[in-house]
Assembly symmetry: C2
């Protein structure tokens, strides 16, 4: 790690051709030099200064310069492939001992294995990129973990623009490191209350992603009687939960968001038998893909069960952010394509009912086009018309069940919130019509919301079968929507 | 990780041939099965039970069965070498792109590197032995980190009996994991005081390794005015410092242990200019080789400097545990060998003085033998005779300087305490005659003690040059003992 010249000539050349502006250039060079020092220095005093200089300088860089710097880090502080190849050749030259692994033959074989152990250990080290030193040093430096999270957020946004292999490798390595450092053992579960510092509570207001908090009174209600809020804190990022979850204590699993966002608690806490997770928000875009929510939910379930033994049901009331986008594109492609090849999105009786009901609102050459027109209209008038809502309800609920249970991307649920809860071990419990009548709710999921249910005894099993086989657990209630469809398809074939 | 049958047939066979006693055997099998479950299970409930079952069962096993179990873990839960070799062959089949690393050529090259990144990532995973799962799971399981430390203490004691390659590899892997988990970022510095729980203070009494604590009053004094005690705690091992250090606040660097082990503080704390680390003890044999002391000393220096800005000198008063053992073996071999080849242990004038002074105490065919007789005598009468002490002082101090500065094993200081402080970045400041007159002190180092000095601005530099080049920093004071010897050798040659 310390054999490099300072600064590396390649890296300098690379950056000097980037920009003509001198002061701009000087800034970039200074940050790059402090990055190099942070990797190669050994004296603590200087190292701390270099780490501070690097992170402060980084914050001052333009987006384009951050990108160049991260690419330099990914490419110039990579691993020594010549050394890796050399070790591999040595390894492949070793002869594998016979397969007899019984303890009696252990001692004879021990000698023949020691070469393997030695090269394997060396290879593990050689396969660590040089930038690991920077990550490790930042992790133990005050403020460094938070900085790494900012840096990863940048990496992810650059990757979203362009998929660059070296940057992808940098991200994947940093992500694994962050997973280790943010293991559940290092995180503290904190019951967030109105007694917490305002500096912490303002983070809750700022990062609440699901149901925005409108004012102080609203915040106080979320932390008041009948509700709980729990956050995960890391000792290195004090006063700022990495992720938090809001819980409502209820008599039954809520079917609409209005039931949850009450002003006054509908029942005394002691009568609650159900904990509804109505919002879970992450505060760090740089921790994307690092599933802290899974552990948070499990810890919260444990804490609530211990404190309130009457509570036996743990459920969410969740948005379905991708439903309408998926449905509109399905409708559009069905409408464009030849009808014989188009998917059976609507049943014949639904088509008839829809064409009848929609007459006064819109026209279209068939029911598919009519449905597309209604759902994509900016006025959202279908939601205000009882007649239209009624005829749309059946296909929208059935197609929503299909979207949640069957639509996948790389073996995982297409819906991001669905994927989150399913990988955490939940099952799909119920879909609720007109559960969120807000404009956002209507636009993203036609107002439908879903209850994911966490059954303590099945969490790990569900998570495992979802992870390995993509299996999605669902109640009969939800599954019935599809079976009715399957029945119909059977009938059609006959 | 989950493709194994349960339980693995090889492992079962191995263990069943180990012992004839059935109940004994059943115990072992049960622990081995819970170990296997702990590695291969996925349901949390069962996993927690398996981890508990494994650690409880392990504690109940005989030494011999623990050894067999650990060997099974090392051998049967190793890595998949066929897969590793397959990946290596793929890797060696890739062609390294040209050396042009400038940012302009980056995009052309990105594609050609993606194969490397992919196989490197896969190889990192394949090179993780299956037993890593057990370590990871124990680390996040309550009590698991402490259990891992016990397990490693066992591994080290088995390795001390017999060097088995697979067990050595298991140890080296576990050690690296422990280093990650016990990084300074996860450790809390705690100022241990008389107000701490008795359950914590009893650990200090039990583990104080340098100057045993005789009673409660003695403990209270160590935590009282003019002294400090600091420990490193890990959140997963509450109430039990992993390592602790005792500090005396003084006017000058202490030259004898009596100055440090006072009953009443010799000066008011506000007059202290010097912090003497007079004892540092680790409580976990299983963390051997994981240098927590280095970070503890640095943190303590920071805290003391912040709280007491008048204190500018940080030094130890340390034993020299290996000195007499080394010297006696040197004397014995010098005496056995032909005098022309023997090392110049004594100067001619020292030999004469020694033979004169020792006449009434012992006989010997030469000064070397006389010295050996005096130093190895169980009565230690040389220390009570002013005459003998006087003639022995010069050679004992000079040879002690040589032992500390020049005697090495694999490039590191032979003396274990010396190696500890030098790798932490200290320098050898002064050696002190008759600094510890206790029987233990006389036997291990002829009563000599050494002050290692920590100069804040040189800690990292010293640590680095000791680590990479084996360089030992020492004051002129100590170095002079050797130069006088070198002068003499020069003279002899002339």
């Amino acid at each position: 790690m310390n054999q490099m010249q300072y600064p590396p000539s390649d890296a300098k050349q690379g950056s000097s051709s980037q920009d003509a502006s001198t002061s701009f250039h000087t800034d970039f060079d200074r940050v790059q030099e402090s990055m190099h020092s942070a990797i190669s220095m050994n004296k603590t005093e200087i190292l701390d200064a270099a780490l501070d200089g690097f992170s402060e300088g980084y914050f001052g860089l333009s987006n384009e310069n951050r990108r160049t710097l991260l690419l330099t880090l990914a490419r110039e502080y990579d691993l020594n492939r010549t050394q890796v190849r050399e070790l591999m050749k040595q390894y492949l030259g070793l002869e594998l001992p016979s397969g007899d692994k019984s303890v009696e033959h252990l001692h004879e074989e021990e000698g023949s294995f020691s070469g393997f152990y030695r090269i394997e250990r060396n290879l593990r080290h050689s396969l660590k990129p040089m930038y690991e030193v920077l990550f490790e040093r930042l992790n133990t430096h005050p403020g460094g973990l938070r900085f790494l999270s900012v840096m990863r957020a940048d990496i992810l946004s650059f990757l979203a623009e362009e998929n660059i292999a070296s940057l992808r490798a940098l991200d994947s390595y940093l992500k694994e490191k962050l997973i280790t450092w943010l293991s559940p053992a290092t995180l503290q579960l904190h019951n967030i209350t109105w007694d917490d510092p305002a500096s912490l509570l303002e983070k809750i207001v700022a990062y609440e992603a699901v149901h925005p908090i409108s004012n102080l009174l609203d915040l106080k209600r979320r932390l008041g009687v009948g509700r709980r809020c729990f956050g995960y804190l890391h000792p290195a990022i004090p006063g700022e939960p990495l992720i938090f979850i809001e819980v409502a204590l209820m008599k039954n699993v809520a079917q609409t968001i209005q039931e949850v966002l009450w002003d006054d608690p509908p029942i005394p806490e002691c009568e609650a038998t159900c904990a509804v997770f109505y919002s879970i928000s992450s505060t760090q875009p740089g921790l994307s893909g690092i599933n802290l929510g899974k552990f948070l939910i499990k810890r919260v379930i444990d804490v609530v069960r211990r404190d309130m033994p009457r509570i036996s049901t743990f459920a969410t009331l969740s948005p379905i952010p991708g439903y309408m986008q998926w449905l509109l594109s399905k409708l559009a492609s069905a409408e464009r394509s030849d009808s014989t090849f188009s998917e059976n999105l609507l049943k014949p009786e639904e088509e008839t009912a829809l064409l009848d009901a929609a007459e006064e609102f819109t026209t279209g050459k068939n029911a598919i086009e009519v449905m597309w027109n209604l759902l994509s209209s900016t006025s959202l008038e279908w939601a205000n018309s009882e007649k239209l809502s009624l005829v749309l309800k059946t296909p929208l609920m059935r197609l929503c069940a299909r979207y949640l249970l069957q639509e996948k991307k790389r073996g995982k649920a297409l819906d991001s919130v669905g994927n989150f809860h399913l990988q955490n071990g939940a099952m799909i419990g119920r879909i609720n019509w007109m559960a969120d009548r807000s404009e956002k709710g209507l636009r993203q999921s036609a107002g439908i919301m879903v209850n994911y249910i966490y059954k303590v005894e099945h969490i790990e099993e569900n998570a495992q079968s979802y992870f390995s086989k993509g299996q999605i657990q669902a109640s009969d209630d939800v599954r019935n929507y599809l079976e009715r469809q399957a029945d119909r398809q059977e009938e059609t074939k006959d």
